[in-house]
Structures are given as C-alpha cells and as structure tokens.
C-alpha cells in the first residue's frame, strides 16, 4: 500500500484470460436473470390484502397443558405484521398467538397451549397490521 502499483500490472489491465470473460458473462446473466425475475414478479403481482390459511400440524400433551402446533400461511398478496391468531375450544377456553411477520406466500409456525384437551378447536386470525 505504500507505493501505488504500476497501472499496467493490475489484473484489470492485463490481457484477460478467457476464464475472466466466462465468469463475467455468467455473472452478467445471473444479474440480468434476477432483474428480470423481480420485474416479472412486480408486473404480475396482484394488489390484494393478506389472506391466511391455518393448518393444525400436531396436538401434543405437554406437562403444562395441550400444545396445538399450527402453521400459518399467508396466501394473500401483501405481507402482514403482528398477525394475531386465536384458538377457541367449545368449553370457552381461548388461547392467542402473535406472529411478528407473515410475508406473502410464506409460512410461520408456532403453538397454542390449552389447559384441557382441545376438542372442537376453532382457529381464526383476529387482527394484523401492515408493516
């Protein structure tokens, strides 16, 4: 770093090896593909609100109660934040769960815990915010 290297000796100014062009072309294609992908996604994107699909993965008996493991999928077009999921069993017991972010097309997992065996469990998203 003490001496400025000779300009002609820098790798950029030497006669390029064919591999440099191949790597360069491959990189250019990759970058263009990413731009094209983003552009196509942007143009085909619908502008609807978030929408949710809830699936129960598993119901496990833990020491503190019954764990209902759930997967929440955002099948809408927009990302939702602070998504509040509520589960209600017939007997009147409720349990709540909040997901920080559920991006469009993405899934998040978590669990609701109930004191008694959750027969007739009803799950619903009660609120969310736009990020």
């Amino acid at each position: 770093m003490s001496e400025e290297p000779q300009t002609e000796n820098l790798p950029v100014n030497r006669a390029p090896h064919p591999a440099e062009w191949i790597i360069g072309a491959a990189s250019a294609l990759g970058v263009l593909a990413l731009v094209a992908y983003l552009a196509v996604t942007a143009m085909t994107e619908a502008d609807g609100p978030p929408d949710f699909e809830i699936a129960i993965d598993d119901v496990l008996a833990g020491s503190g109660g019954w764990h209902v493991r759930v997967t929440l999928r955002n099948v809408g077009d927009k990302t939702a934040a602070d998504v509040m999921l509520r589960g209600e069993v017939g007997a009147g017991e409720t349990s709540e769960l909040t997901f920080d972010y559920v991006p469009a097309g993405s899934t998040r997992r978590g669990a609701l815990v109930f004191a008694r065996e959750p027969d007739g469990l009803e799950l619903s998203v009660r609120s969310y915010t736009d990020p």
Binding site: M1, S2, E3, E4, P5, T7, E8, N9, L10, P11, V12, N13, P16, H17, A19, E20, W21, I23, G24, A25, A26, S27, A28, G30, V31, L34, V35, Y37, L38, A39, T41, A42, E45, T79, A81, Y101, P103, A104, G105, S106, T107, R108, R109, P131
Partner: protein, 277 residues
C-alpha cells in the same frame, strides 16, 4: 485492550502477534459482539448451520492468509497455522468480551455458549488475520509487494462481502426492509449497488483503487470485475441469510428481495476489500 498500537521492538514476536490479532478481532467484531441478534442466533438457529458456517470459514481464512500472505511464497502448513491462530485468538477474544458483557453467564447450556462464541469468531478471525497485515507498524510493511491476480481479486471481494454482510445479515432490519420495498425498489437498489462498486474501485481514484489503462474500456472492467463481484456478494448474502435461518418458510420472491437488500452492503464490502487489502 487497545493493543494494536506500537509495541516496543523488544516485545516477543508471539506476544506481539497475539496482541495485534486481539486488536484486529476487537476492531472488526465489536459491532457484532454488542448486537442482540448475534447472541440470539446461538439458540434460534440449528447447530448444524453454525457448523456449516465454521466449516466454510476455515478454508476462507486459510485462503485469506494466503492472499494477504506477505511477499514470499509460503507453504500451506504455514498459511493454515496463521488461519488457525487467528481463529483461536478470535474465539478467545469473543469469549472474554461476551463474558465481560454478561452475555455469557453460568446456567447457560454448553450449546448456547459454544454457539455464541462460534458465530462471533468468524468475523473476529477475519479481523485478527487482517490485523497482522493492516495494523503492522511501518517498518515491516511488505504488503505492497503482493502480486495481484484475477482469482485473488475475486477472493478478496468474497471476504469483503462476507465481512460486511455478516455485520448486517443477523439484524431484523434486512427482512423488514425487504417488506417495505417493492420489486422496482429492488431493481433500483441492484443498479445502485453495482454502480457504487464500480465507482469505488475504478472511477473515484481512491488510494488502492485500480486505474484503468487506456487499452481497457470501462465495460471490460464492468463485465470482468464488477459484475462477478456483485454476483459473489449476492451469493454470499444468500448463504448468510440461510445460515442465520432468515430464509426459513419464506416465499422465493421474498428471498430474492432479501438477497438484494443484503447484497447492497455486501457489494460495498466487496469493493472496499479490493481497495483496502
């Protein structure tokens, strides 16, 4: 602990090297040592991802040690020794600092403690290794003699991208930002990243930048250096997001956006590495 200043000439070589390495590890990793998300990764990410990170970091450090390795040709064993020395110093420095900050405390599981140290050791080891070339005193400066090669330049860009990407990848903001942006923002950010990279190295004549000779057109430098550099930055970004569990359950277009967001600092890191190293 600001041990990267000047040592009296009679300081034993090993002690002096260790001191420099600790200094480098601190300078390079303090922002991460004091970031909450970095600690949380130790228990939010599966252990095998951290193992993959370390497994990738070791050959990278050996390579870095080789590329910045001074003037004379050195044996692989020597280069590897340097890299492992740096890694050891990095783990030691991380353990001491995290303990002093109360981040490591009794009652934590062994997995958690090892995870916390292992994640921090990677950027700290890069710092420890660079300290020996960058923080050396003027008398033993020999780095200018290093012969630059195309592969070496690409490799340095990878290290720079990994380092700056590492600073930002664990934070919540990388993902949050990608939710705020539309795809058009993403495309604009890619253009800005590439323009900044190219400008840094070739246009604004920073010290250590590369001046294009009259026979080398700008598009040739762009195609052969800047675009591969950006591609490396994007791939490193994807790797880091994956290691830190940020791609989990994420739709593919969201992953693409997060990569574009993280590739911005990574690209700047890649360009800066070519200037500084």
């Amino acid at each position: 602990m600001t041990g990267h200043g000047r040592f009296a000439p009679q300081t034993p070589a090993l002690l002096r090297d260790a001191g420099r390495a600790i200094g480098g590890a601190l300078v390079f990793s303090l922002p991460m040592l004091m970031t909450m998300e970095m600690w949380q990764l130790a228990y939010t990410v599966q252990a095998w991802r951290i193992a993959v990170l370390v497994a990738v970091a070791v050959p990278l450090l050996v390579g870095l040690s080789h590329v910045i390795g001074i003037g004379r040709r050195r044996k692989l064993a020597e280069t590897a020794m340097d890299a492992f020395f740096a890694f050891g110093i990095a783990a030691f420095t991380s353990a001491v600092v995290l303990t002093a900050l109360g981040v490591l405390a009794p009652g934590m599981s062994v997995d958690e403690i090892i995870g916390k140290i292992a994640i921090q050791s990677v950027p700290a080891a890069i710092g420890a290794l660079l300290a020996r070339s960058q923080l050396r005193s003027g008398a033993d400066e020999t780095l200018g003699d290093r012969e630059e090669t195309y592969a070496g330049e690409l490799f340095l860009m990878m290290v720079g991208a990994l380092f700056l990407g590492f600073n930002l990848a664990p934070t919540e903001e990388m993902i949050l930002i990608s939710y705020l942006m539309t795809e058009w923002h993403g495309i604009a950010l890619m253009a800005i990243s590439i323009a900044a990279m190219h400008g840094f190295v070739f246009a604004v004549e920073f010290k250590g930048g590369s001046e294009l000779s009259q026979d080398t057109p700008w598009w040739s430098a762009l195609l052969r250096f800047t675009l591969p550099g950006y591609a490396i930055a994007a791939l490193i970004s994807l790797f880091l997001l994956w290691v830190f569990g940020r791609t989990e359950g994420l739709a593919i277009e969201m992953v693409a956006m997060a990569v574009v967001v993280l590739a911005f600092p990574s690209a700047i890191g890649a360009a800066a590495a070519r200037l500084i190293l």
